[in-house]
């Protein structure tokens, strides 16, 4: 028996759900689509993308935790679970397998304040296996004396791993902080073959 094309159904279903989102919750902006990666070497990861690229890659407790954060942070945006973030999943799987440590993914930071965006742009240019310091990143973001502010901006990096804030250390070579916990920072640096303490 023949049914309508999958793509026609997918679009109709999306219209229905977004319509209901608008009517019931007042969330009417462009939707965010999210997916979970449960079994990674660094624990459970939540991924979320909008039309212009990846917007969240977060260390989370579970799906409920991630969903609550997304809904809290994006008060007027519909959020939908998806199984279509395959490009991000594949890139992360290659990264964790050690096959490819750099990412070629579209990342959307356009919602962030200018300084934070600059800091994250500078951080995104640190290659795997290398490290930098909060001061250096602040300089490259155009504010050489704002190393503490750069640290804060990195601490709330919405796109962990892909924007490699774990590659930014203190000037004395010590690890500094990390949103996902310092042990994960250590693991990521060792995985990439960078030696913490040798800048």
């Amino acid at each position: 028996m023949i049914t309508e094309p999958i793509e026609v159904e997918r679009r109709a279903v999306e219209r229905i759900v977004l319509g209901a989102f608008g009517e019931l919750t007042g969330r009417r902006r462009e939707p965010l689509r999210y997916a979970m990666m449960e079994d990674t070497p660094v624990g459970v990861l939540g991924l979320a993308s909008g039309a212009r690229g990846l917007r969240h890659l977060s260390y989370v407790r579970d799906e409920d935790d991630f969903l609550k954060r997304l809904l809290d942070e994006h008060g007027d945006v519909p959020v939908l679970r998806t199984d279509t973030l395959d490009d991000v999943r594949r890139a992360l799987a290659r990264y964790f397998a050690g096959k490819r440590l750099d990412f070629d993914l579209r990342v959307d930071l356009s919602d962030l304040p200018t300084f934070q965006r600059r800091v994250l742009d500078a951080t995104a240019r640190i290659p795997a296996g290398r490290v930098s310091t909060y001061g250096e990143v602040a300089s490259r973001a155009g504010s050489p004396r704002a190393s503490r502010a750069a640290g804060n901006a990195l601490h709330v990096n919405p796109v962990a791993i892909v924007v490699p804030c774990h590659r930014v250390l203190r000037a004395d070579g010590s690890l500094g902080g990390y949103g996902g916990g310092v042990r994960i920072k250590e693991w990521l640096l060792a995985h990439e073959g960078a030696r913490p303490g040798v800048v």
Binding site: M1, G19, A20, F21, L24, L67, L71, P78
Partner: protein, 175 residues
């Protein structure tokens, strides 16, 4: 159909249900009612009902199966208006004819007529048998999943599909 005043907290809880289950429920409802506008109304009603009853759901209950049952019952209530149901099923049959036609201007072939007759007969099956059959053959679900969506057991779903196919094979037209 949908109340216009929903508290902010209720809206947030509904947002969670919509985010996690909205698309699969919408797909299920739409396949049942064959009408996008009705499907949105039914999805909204389903979520409002679910939200109202959420507090009474025992801990560890299967929220997904429970939502499917509410969606199914809400859709059935919609379809129980017989004229609407018949119109939807006739449209359904017509769509299938268009989709199945080898060429748009090939004219009516014996195969098309047979298919139209078959779908008209499917439309006249008892509700649960018709839905179970559609989920089995069109959506290719297993009996466990059909039971999740319609309520009841996998064995019950199997029996409904069996009865439906038996009636179609025997050419029984009425319930």
């Amino acid at each position: 159909m949908t109340p216009t005043t929903i508290s902010e907290r209720a809206a947030e809880r509904i947002a969670v249900l919509l985010a996690r289950h909205g698309e699969e429920l919408a797909r299920h409802i739409r396949r049942m009612v064959r009408d996008d506008d009705a499907a949105q109304d039914i999805l909204q009603d389903t979520l409002i009902r679910a939200h109202g009853a959420l507090a009474r759901l025992p801990a560890g209950a299967n929220t997904r199966a429970w939502l499917y049952r509410i969606a199914t019952n809400t859709s059935l209530n919609h379809l129980r208006s017989r004229s609407r149901e018949r119109a939807a099923l006739e449209r359904h049959a017509a769509e299938r004819e268009v989709a199945a036609a080898p060429e748009p201007d090939a004219g009516v072939t014996p195969g098309e007529t047979e298919r139209a007759t078959l779908w008209a007969r499917v439309a006249r099956l008892p509700e649960r048998q018709r839905l179970a059959l559609t989920l089995r053959i069109v959506d290719e679900l297993d009996y466990e999943e059909i039971a999740t969506r319609l309520g009841g057991t996998a064995a019950g779903a199997r029996a409904n599909v069996y009865q439906a196919t038996r009636k179609l094979r025997l050419g029984v037209h009425t319930r």
